[in-house]
Amino acid sequence: MSSHVQPFLRDEDSRVSNLVSNYQQLMINQNKRKISRTQGALIRKLDTFCTLEDDWNGYEAVPIHREAMESAFQFVMNLSSTKEYRQLDIFPVPNGHVQIELERGHTYLEFEFREDGQVDIFSMEGNQEKEVTRLFNQSCIDDMIRMVDTIENKGTLL
């Protein structure tokens, strides 16, 4: 069972959040809770999304929504700090969402964090596809992490 962390610290006065700074503050607040290299890499990359302005991809992409970044941050912080999820990567989506994806062999898992407090969970294995949209809460996070762990351990979701 992954440990629960407090929600991402909001700074309402700041137009653009700085997740790394806030994360460092979070670490201090929580007695320097350790994170894995994967978590660190994901958070550092997520932090760079703050710099993406209007039209960042040249095709009229919108800036990444703060709420989507917060959800992605919360998911990453709930990953086990003792495991290295080498195939996990994080990407900005032109519609302002944040995407975390995991690919291993023919198995693909994708989480798209939205600004409305929901997450699209999409998996593809061979010709089988599954897509659901869920409210992003702790129960959802636990299920998402179980899916990631299943692929990491078994190489498949089947």
Binding site: Y59, Q87, P94, Q99
Partner: protein, 125 residues
């Protein structure tokens, strides 16, 4: 495979990608592949068609319009394989402009975006 006119067999469709370091990842074999996010756009995926041009000429043309971008390509056959629609949408500034879209919606389904990203070729960094 039946290719819709005015397109032709294995015609390339080019898309600029930036910022490169944020949109690409390494697969388990160490190969660089783009995220499916590259092919996610609610207005359809904007691309340039090759239209009988030499590959390098077509790459140079789109790169001139999208400075500091990398260029990837998929073929119309790739679009057919993932059941995506492609249509010519020329503008005054860009006679080669096209849209790759879903069957029912402008945005590709997640599976279509993922499958196209796996077929994408990096033309130039």
């Amino acid at each position: 495979m039946k290719i819709k006119e005015p397109f032709y067999n294995y015609e390339k469709m080019y898309r600029a990608v930036k910022p490169l370091e944020q949109m690409w990842k390494k697969d388990e074999h160490g190969n660089q592949i783009p995220s499916s996010a590259v092919f996610k756009d609610s207005k359809g995926v904007s691309v340039d068609r090759q239209n009988y041009r030499d590959n390098q000429d077509a790459v140079n043309f789109i790169q001139w319009n999208f400075k500091d971008s990398s260029i990837i390509s998929v073929t119309v056959n790739d679009c057919e394989e993932v059941e995506a629609n492609y249509l010519s949408d020329p503008t005054e500034a860009n006679p080669y402009h096209c849209i790759i879209r879903g069957s029912d919606t402008m945005e590709l389904r997640k599976a279509q975006a993922k499958r196209l990203s796996k077929k994408a070729v990096l033309e130039t960094q």
